[in-house]
């Protein structure tokens, strides 16, 4: 199936139907891109509304019940529909086969099915809006989630179906990495993005089923009142939290590990230098993935969990800090004696290190039991995980999109606007979330519709920052759309990168490579 010159995966077939039934991982990646970006717009709109409501004390735009819905949908959309599928299913789908020199993922039909699972799951989630929405927060803590009288069941069912999407993607990636690497592509010649995706896939496969059963039990709880998590029937609500966090803590690493992989790619490419400590970074991905299963109780220090469990979980959480620190130091060391270009993707990568470092050290603070007692469920936690999830994952996704746009669409993006979007997002982000650390230290609890007057000035600052981020992402969206519609034709390897995806044409042909690539060295041989 060698293709004629000028024929690529985008123009080889046309029509909506050819997209909806495609088995090409690149097209499925693009479909994920469109859906994830749309969900991001919806989740982002909820964020803007939340910050509008919190602009001043008391009621600003909506009542408490509606605010709780905003908060719930913002959380649920951003976790289940944006960050979890964001890196693996969108960028991973497109680039995993390309970067290991494969023609496709191992199971293209399963890959397409995973996209439909996400779509159907999202549709079911939004269906809850016809039943007065949902107001439980994305964590669905029992017994409130059992008692509340609205469409929570639909949202839970949607998350359940979206779980399948995540599992199927992970399954596909594990098999693809094991079985479809190009000749010569040993495990330790794989790009670090692949290591990130691989360890993520392991978590997706091992943790998501537990979320599935937990949500299934919650649905049974709401429809038949089975009582397993309901204290009124003799059940234990804290056990729900164990089950929930057994998935949801590793899920945090589903969100961040592949983002770290992107950063390794960007740092090496834009400093034209081999990565410092390749094996340490690769192993730390696996290490983080493994240890992530042992630390979930740090979400529960004040939940009524026993003191012993709290201390054990605190200790284990410290262990996860070490591989994370290793990665950060190695990225910084990679810059040493490099040739650093301040292009937009690199700015996002450096922004990532900046914000992720702050997110990381505050994470250590939260892992210390005695200090977490004060910070738990305050804005300090909100700020911390936004620093990691937005400052980390979303910065990495945005940088990754810019970096790979030429490969995906064969066109160059507008560098100036892209850099401007970085400036807006970066400044807006810090203006939004740094004050929230202070608010949390002052004692402002999270998920609050209204707050004491003392918290008002910083909340105002935070809201202003949030709108700046919003504008920044609009500019980023403009860059993407402008690139697709009007971009100048891109060369095959505009950045001089060494990884395999840049060794084929832009955009790649249907089967990725016209001749089977053979790998003879490491991924970052900038000599």
């Amino acid at each position: 199936m060698s293709s004629a010159p000028g024929v690529n995966y985008l123009n080889e077939k046309s029509g909506l139907w050819s997209w909806l039934t495609t088995l090409d991982h690149k097209r499925i990646g693009i479909m994920y891109m469109i859906s994830v970006l749309s969900f991001f717009a919806i989740g982002g709109a909820f964020a803007m509304l939340i910050r509008w409501e919190l602009f001043g004390a008391g009621k600003n735009i909506v009542d408490a019940a509606t605010y709780n819905q905003f908060m719930t949908f913002h959380g649920a959309i951003m976790t289940f529909m944006v960050i979890i599928p964001g890196v693996p299913a969108f960028l991973g789908n497109f680039f995993l086969p390309l970067m290991i020199g494969a023609k496709d993922v191992a199971f293209p039909r399963v890959n397409l099915l995973s996209w439909y699972c996400l779509m159907v799951g999202a549709a079911i989630s939004f269906w809850s809006l016809f039943y007065h929405g949902a107001d439980t927060g994305w964590t669905f803590y029992t017994p409130y989630s059992i008692q509340t009288d609205n469409g929570t069941t639909w949202l839970v069912a949607g998350a359940f179906v979206m779980g399948f999407s995540s599992i199927l993607t992970g399954l596909n990636f594990i098999v693809t990495v094991h079985k479809l690497r190009a000749p010569g592509m040993t495990f330790f010649r794989m790009p670090l993005f692949i290591w990130g995706l691989y360890s993520t896939a392991v978590i997706q496969v091992l943790a998501t089923p537990v979320l599935g059963i937990t949500l299934l039990l919650l649905i049974a709880e709401r429809t038949m009142n089975i009582g397993i998590f309901d204290p009124a029937m003799g059940g234990d609500p804290v056990l729900f939290q164990h089950f929930f966090w057994f998935y949801s803590h590793p899920a945090v690493y589903i969100m961040i590990l592949p983002a770290m992989g992107i950063i390794s790619e960007l740092i090496t490419c834009y400093s034209k230098k081999t990565i410092f400590g390749y094996r340490a970074i690769a192993w730390s991905s696996i290490g983080i993935a493994a240890v992530s299963f042992f630390v979930w109780g740090h979400h529960m220090f004040v939940s009524g969990q026993s003191e012993v469990a709290g201390i054990v979980f605190s200790f284990l959480t410290m262990l996860v800090g070490v591989p994370t620190a290793i990665k950060t130091f190695n990225w910084v060391a990679t810059l040493y004696k490099g040739s650093i270009e301040f292009s937009a993707p690199m700015l996002f990568a450096l922004g990532f290190i900046f914000l992720f470092t702050i997110g990381g050290v505050t994470g250590i603070m939260l892992a210390v039991t005695a200090v977490d007692v004060h910070f738990h469920d305050t804005y300090f936690v909100v700020a911390h995980f936004h620093y990691v999830m937005v400052g980390g994952t979303l910065m990495a996704i945005t940088g990754g999109i810019y970096h790979w746009l030429p490969k995906m669409f064969g066109k160059m993006y507008n560098e100036g606007v892209a850099r401007f979007s970085f400036v807006l997002i970066f400044i807006g982000f810090n203006v939004t979330f740094f004050p929230q650390f202070v608010l949390g230290a002052m004692g402002m609890p999270r998920r609050y519709y209204d707050y004491l007057p003392a918290f008002e000035p910083l909340n105002k600052v935070s809201s202003l920052g949030a709108w700046t981020i919003g504008v920044g992402f609009l500019f980023a969206l403009y860059v993407v759309v402008d690139c697709i519609l009007r971009g100048k034709k891109a060369p095959d390897n505009p950045w001089g990168a060494k990884t395999l995806e840049w060794q084929t044409s832009s955009p790649p042909p249907h089967e990725n490579f016209t001749t089977q690539p053979v790998v003879t060295g490491g991924p970052y041989e900038y000599r």
Partner: protein, 221 residues
Amino acid sequence: MSTANTTEYHHHTAHHFDSADAEYRASKLGLWVFLMTEILMFGGLFVGYIIYHQKMPETFAAGSKFLDWKLGSLNTVILIFSSLTMALSIYYAQIGKKAMVLYNLYITFFCGVGFMVVKSIEYSHKIHDGLLPGSLFHHAAEAGSAGVAHLPIYFSFYFVMTGLHGSHVLVGMGLIAWLIVRAHKGHFGPQYYTPLECVGLFWHLVDLIWIYLFPLLYLVG
């Protein structure tokens, strides 16, 4: 059944695999990864079950008295036998006896039917007696003086675990029906039996889960 006489079926290896063997190995790895997810999903339930069993042993002892261990044993025998026939169908595919593949698949399928029939007999008894999960529970044992606290929770576990398992049996039966159709067309032989092997693994896992469910629910009291 004249499947052996039809022209030899040739399976097309998907374009992104180097060889039929690479595809076979990838499929099996994929299936095993899928089985891992199944183990963790059921495992979550088992973990919950064991935790509650430790917390309220009297409740679980009293609850298991309401189950009929004879029907449970019958279903265990049926499922293990079906596992055998499933394994044999692969064996006969490997040595090229296509008719025997079909016979064994049919037996496996009807074992599944038998399992579901027994299961539905059990369910209808429970429903009739009001031994139902959670707030649907309305059996006298809860209210009576000899009643045990939280008995509905036992039946919540019983119905959720056997229900989820039963739905897996149904899915497995659907897959076996699909295998039967393909076997009729003569698709399986020594060169190509990946679907048999994969569905087989799934079916054995369903059996495996029942091997644990049976003593936990019916016997341990």
